[in-house]
């Protein structure tokens, strides 16, 4: 399996605080990579670096490389909007736009120039089917998305991200605001999606990481302590700190 994204010596500062310390990692294509670690360990920061959402925070300084399909994403010639189109994102709190379900999904494709109604209809249906929410919303596509339940909203947000046909899907604790049933639906969905997409998911829940991920990366205080095959990492961690964390001695 080839690597779709890699980070080399990635360091990141918020002002004078260093949030990432020389992170090196490879993300294999069409797999699920879980990022775990205690709060404030840098896992979300790392995730947001991959589609350059950190650019929006004033005072951020980044050194090192992140490459996507062999191109350094910090290169001045890279169009950040193109990058974000390829590397989509699902946020911690479901954040549908205050518009209809249909318009939420069509927003991305429309922004990228698709005007044809029939084509948009197809994209919307496919995205909603892929996100396993089509059957629940097909009769109320014109209704406001804010009327959906939290779990439905999150699947809608996944559908919205899929509608622009990304290659990589970043998920920032996508189930932390959801109930157990909605959570397991999202997990099932992630497992289905990895046939077509590369998924990188931040989770505070180690069981979730075990359940769905192929690889796991453990972050602590801005450092990537270790990463590798999920089963191996949880059964035979190389680093003492990883062992302490996964056995619940801190965090």
């Amino acid at each position: 399996m080839s690597n779709i994204m890699t980070a080399e010596n990635l360091c990141l500062w918020y002002g004078n605080t260093q949030a990432l310390k020389s992170v090196n990692i490879e993300i294999p294509e069409k797999s699920i990579t879980a990022l775990i670690g205690p709060s404030g360990c840098g896992k979300s920061t790392f995730l947001k670096t991959l589609n350059r959402m950190n650019d929006l925070i004033p005072g951020v300084k980044i050194t090192g490389d992140v490459s996507y399909n062999g191109t350094n994403i910090f290169d001045p010639s890279v169009d950040v909007n193109e990058l974000r189109r390829d590397v989509g994102m699902v946020f911690q709190k479901p954040n549908p736009f205050p518009m209809s379900i249909y318009d939420n999904i069509a927003y991305g494709p429309r922004t990228h120039g698709i005007k044809n109604k029939a084509k948009l209809d197809d994209i919307v249906e496919k995205a909603l089917r892929d996100a396993a929410i089509w059957d629940e919303v097909k009769d109320r596509l014109k209704k406001n998305a804010l009327g959906l339940s939290g779990g439905q909203q999150q699947r809608l947000c996944i559908a919205r991200a899929l509608a622009v046909k990304p290659k990589v899907l970043l998920m920032d604790e996508p189930t932390s605001a959801l109930d157990p049933i909605s959570t397991s639906r999202i997990e099932e969905l992630a497992l289905q999606l990895k046939d077509e997409y590369t998924i990188i998911i931040v989770t505070h829940n180690m069981q979730q990481s075990v359940r769905i991920s192929d690889n796991t990366a453990f972050f602590l205080l801005g450092e990537l302590v270790e990463w590798g095959n999920t089963e191996r990492l949880f059964s035979q961690p190389n680093d003492k700190r990883t062992e302490d964390y996964i056995t619940g001695r801190f965090g």
Binding site: N51, M53, L83, N95
Partner: protein, 288 residues
């Protein structure tokens, strides 16, 4: 214990009375306007009063038609909105979303200052610069015109439009904008396709406030509009509802004075209508 309770009750009572002062004033003004505005309308006839095209209050055979004033006020306000809203709206988007911190601080201070300038100063500057400018530019005998009033009003409503729109735009949850950016939309696409639609009630409120300010303004428009009761035309001298009352009140008597009260009543109804619209938008905002 009882003493404390008594004190509580007294304080409650005092505050209630203070609050009632405002309500009392509104009631007093409303009742007074209705009572003193109706007799003239009765005598002249509602239709003749509202739709009469001639206002000759001090002629031997006076005629009291206020259609010129009504139309002037509507046209003047509409013109100010047409010019002021785009400028104010885009300024607000720029300041709320795009401007670097320093530029934002300076420009917001300027907007606040603009809001604080007394209307007589607007009138004065308009009289000395705008009116002669229009006269020369369009080669008309007198620059005091509806156009001059529209321009002055457009500038006067800018602060309320800008400030209220900025507040609305800044209240848009960051999550919406992040979602849009993460889909590959550019910042400008995000502001106009996500932030502005999400803030539309607030922006509508800003526009309604601007309408209220424009239609109620008297001093500045009196100084630049020529103050002649013509049917409105862009380059002609005109008289507004507000200035019609203010201009003649000092020397009027009898039916003429009563008619001025009737004009005030009409203006008051316009303002009520605007307030109702404003409440509609504010309520809709709350329900969301």
């Amino acid at each position: 214990m009882n003493k404390k309770k008594l004190l509580e009750n007294v304080i409650h009572g005092v505050f209630l009375i203070l609050g009632l002062i405002t309500v009392g004033c509104v009631l007093l003004i409303t009742v007074y306007l209705v009572i003193s505005g109706i007799p003239a309308i009765r005598e002249i006839g509602l239709f003749k009063f509202l739709f009469g095209k001639k206002w000759e209050s001090s002629a031997a055979e006076p005629s009291f038609g206020i259609l010129p004033f009504i139309l002037t006020s509507i046209y003047g306000t509409a013109g100010a909105i047409v010019i002021g809203v785009p400028i104010g709206f885009f300024t607000a988007v720029y300041l709320a979303k795009m401007a670097p911190k320093r530029i934002k601080a300076v420009m917001e201070a300027a907007v606040s200052l603009l809001a604080g300038i007394p209307s007589v100063v607007y009138g004065l500057v308009g009289m000395l610069i705008l009116v002669p400018g229009i006269r020369k530019l369009f080669k008309i005998p007198d620059g005091a015109s509806l156009l001059a009033a529209i321009i002055v009003l457009a500038i006067m409503i800018l602060p309320s439009i800008i400030k209220v729109s900025i507040t609305a735009l800044e209240a848009v949850p960051k999550e919406y904008e992040e979602a849009s950016l993460s889909l590959g939309a550019t910042p400008v696409e995000t502001y106009f396709k996500v932030s502005v639609p999400a803030a539309k009630s607030g922006i509508a409120t800003a526009v309604v406030l601007g309408v209220g300010r424009a239609i109620g303004e008297a001093m500045a428009v009196m100084m630049v509009s020529g103050n002649v009761p013509n049917m409105p035309s862009l380059f002609g001298s005109v008289r507004f509802l507000t200035t019609a009352v203010a201009g003649e009140m000092s020397y009027s008597s009898g039916l003429q004075q009563q008619a001025l009260f009737s004009i005030a009543l009409v203006l008051f109804l316009f303002i009520m209508l605007i307030n109702a619209t404003l409440n509609f938008f504010l309520k809709r905002d709350k329900e969301k």
